[in-house]
């Protein structure tokens, strides 16, 4: 199994990478020349002070920023070697392959099972028994099945915050993405719910490439294999999480990690 994975990533290079990515909100340049690689089946944490462009960068990876009319992108983002900003690329297909979990849990005002089934339905799947199986499978992957199996038809808005967030993860997993983007997925949750999400990330990384934004250094250290430190729209330092946290190359990184940041 492990060898297979290695083979694949060798053959295709990295699962995802950005090359010299600049991003603008109108005249304001929010990202400067970001080049960053994401290996298959690894967790990469993006850290940095608030406003440094972590969310903006993450949203470039599934072109969610396209929704902002004044925004502009320069540079490339490659998914399996293919530039996602290529005009011929179908952005709807891209977003199925690159799933996203948001900072605040945002289930639809529909039932628990309809939330998970949503992605299947919009992707044209009508087979009821398939949908039912896939809903159960996804909820199990998101470690939520046991808690909700008796209330699949209840409104998702009745779940607790932590459950809602795991539901959003299940919803994203249902459409079989390759990459999972998570923008501070636990920042609105209590410590116990946070721990559950972190355990979940650990398990999911066997099958998915995960990129997670977090403002918690401990969380980055706990869940990630690699860490990238952003500051003022620039990528300052990137590397193995252990290295970044114990022997960072740059003074700036060290200051931020040790909390001495000005």
């Amino acid at each position: 199994m492990n060898e297979k994975v290695k083979d694949k990533s060798k053959k295709n290079g990295f699962k995802m990478k950005s090359e010299n990515l600049d991003f603008f909100y109108g005249d304001f340049q929010a990202l400067h020349d970001i080049s960053l690689n994401f290996e298959s089946r690894q967790v990469t944490a993006l850290i940095g002070p608030s406003g440094c462009g972590k969310s903006t960068y993450l949203r470039c990876l599934n072109r969610m920023n396209d929704l902002i009319p004044i925004s502009r992108v320069k540079g490339k983002v490659l998914l399996d070697g293919e530039n996602i900003y290529d005009p011929s690329l179908d952005v709807v297909m891209l977003r199925r392959r690159v799933g996203m979990v948001f900072q605040k849990p945002n289930p639809f005002p529909k039932s628990v099972s309809e939330n998970v089934a949503y992605g299947l339905r919009v992707n044209g799947i009508k087979n009821k028994s398939f949908i039912r199986e896939r809903v159960e499978e996804s909820l199990e992957k998101a470690a939520l099945w046991e808690e909700v199996k008796d209330r699949l038809d209840d409104s998702a808005l009745g779940l607790s915050g932590g459950q809602q967030q795991r539901l959003c993860i299940a919803r994203a997993l249902a459409v079989e993405p390759d990459v999972l983007l998570m923008d501070e997925p636990a920042s609105a949750l209590d410590p116990i719910a946070t721990q559950k999400i972190e355990e979940l990330i650990h398990r999911l990384k066997k099958n998915y490439t995960i990129i997670i934004v977090t403002h918690s250094m401990q969380q980055a250290a706990r869940v990630s294999d690699r860490t990238a430190f952003f500051y003022m729209g620039k990528l300052i330092e990137e590397g193995e999480t252990d290295t970044i946290f114990t022997r960072p190359k740059l003074r700036q990184t060290e200051d931020y990690i040790t909390g001495r940041f000005g």
Partner: protein
């Protein structure tokens, strides 16, 4: 006293204002600490604060009192109108009045053709206006790129809302009745009323769409849904209660209008119920107008006038009620 005040303020949704009245507010403990430290200036400050506090409390009470009066006036107005209509018109309401056609130069008999005419015409108007209005609002709010074009369209819609209803009547006469050769008919009236209610529906639908959190749109698009799927499956259902409210407002406005229908649909008298969309019809508001201004014996038909008004008001309030219940059902389903 203080506690009562506080509760009222929070109940009204201004929790931030608490510090203005609350003596127990933690922000003000600083002053009490000062008391022990510098005894001279403390009295001055305390005096000032006290004076300010009582003035603030007074201002607040006074203003909120005024606001409450303003709100009450609305309810009172409705109550007075309904009471007035009931008092003068209830005697006219009989089974015959509701189910018979007008007789003896409309001094006897009932108003069934008017009821049927008004219901059909306003429903028809709404059926035409809803799809167009909702589609326009979806375009404006979800698709259109901000810019000059959008501003011009918005300006047009806002101005349409300000056009007097009699102008809509003349437009209907010129366009639907004459140009499209529909004649004075149910269809021409419904279309004219549809045009009249369009801005109301567009406005409230846009509001409803704006109130749908962007996170729903992002979540849907993030799962590989197209823009249209997102709108159809997530945004519109979430906005539905608000859109319905717009429909109701439009419907009750349409049902009560007189000027737009008097050139396009309603006639003085026809004993027949409409047999097709090209039939002439009678309508409640126009019937009231006719009875009160042009009847052969205006005084003798006073009870009929009030009776007809009562029916019209009940119809409008009834429609509103049905829609409010429907809306709250939908809201509950969305929870």
């Amino acid at each position: 006293m203080m506690d009562g005040d506080k509760m009222e303020i929070t109940k009204n949704g201004f929790p931030d204002d608490r510090s203005e009245t609350g003596e127990k507010d933690p922000n003000q403990t600083g002053i009490k600490v000062m008391k022990t430290e510098c005894a001279d200036s403390e009295t001055e400050i305390q005096k000032a604060v006290k004076k300010l506090q009582s003035r603030r409390r007074f201002t607040q009470k006074f203003l909120f009192g005024l606001f409450r009066c303003a709100a009450l006036v609305n309810g009172l107005a409705l109550l007075i109108i309904v009471f007035f209509m009931l008092k003068n018109g209830i005697s006219a309401i009989t089974w015959e009045f509701l189910t018979d056609v007008p007789r003896e130069s409309m001094t006897k008999g009932g108003i069934l053709p008017c009821i049927v005419g008004t219901v059909l015409m306003s429903l028809g108007g709404i059926l035409v206006a809803m799809p167009i209005g909702v589609a326009s609002a979806v375009h404006l709010n979800e698709y259109a790129r901000p810019g000059k074009m959008l501003r011009i369209i918005r300006l047009g819609i806002n101005n349409l809302a300000g056009v007097p209803s009699v102008v809509f009547g003349l437009f209907g006469l010129a366009f639907f009745v004459t140009f499209l050769k529909m004649g004075v008919s149910l269809a021409a009236g419904a279309l004219t009323l549809g045009a009249l209610t369009l801005p109301v529906i567009i406005g409230s639908t846009e509001e409803a769409l704006k109130s749908v959190p962007n996170t729903y749109r992002e979540a849907s698009l993030g799962l590989g849904a197209s823009k249209w799927q997102t709108i159809y499956r997530v945004v519109l259902p979430a906005a539905m209660p608000g859109i319905l409210t717009g429909g109701i407002l439009g419907l009750s406005r349409a049902a009560g209008e007189t000027a737009p229908i008097m050139f396009t649909a309603a006639v003085f008298f026809t004993p027949d119920l409409p047999s097709s969309v090209f039939s002439e019809i009678m309508a409640l508001p126009y019937h009231i107008y006719v009875l009160a201004t042009a009847g052969t014996n205006i005084e003798a038909t006073r009870p009929l006038q009030y009776g007809t008004s009562l029916v019209l008001i009940s119809l409008v309030l009834g429609m509103n009620l049905v829609a409010i219940i429907w809306r709250s059902r939908l809201r509950r389903k969305l929870k």
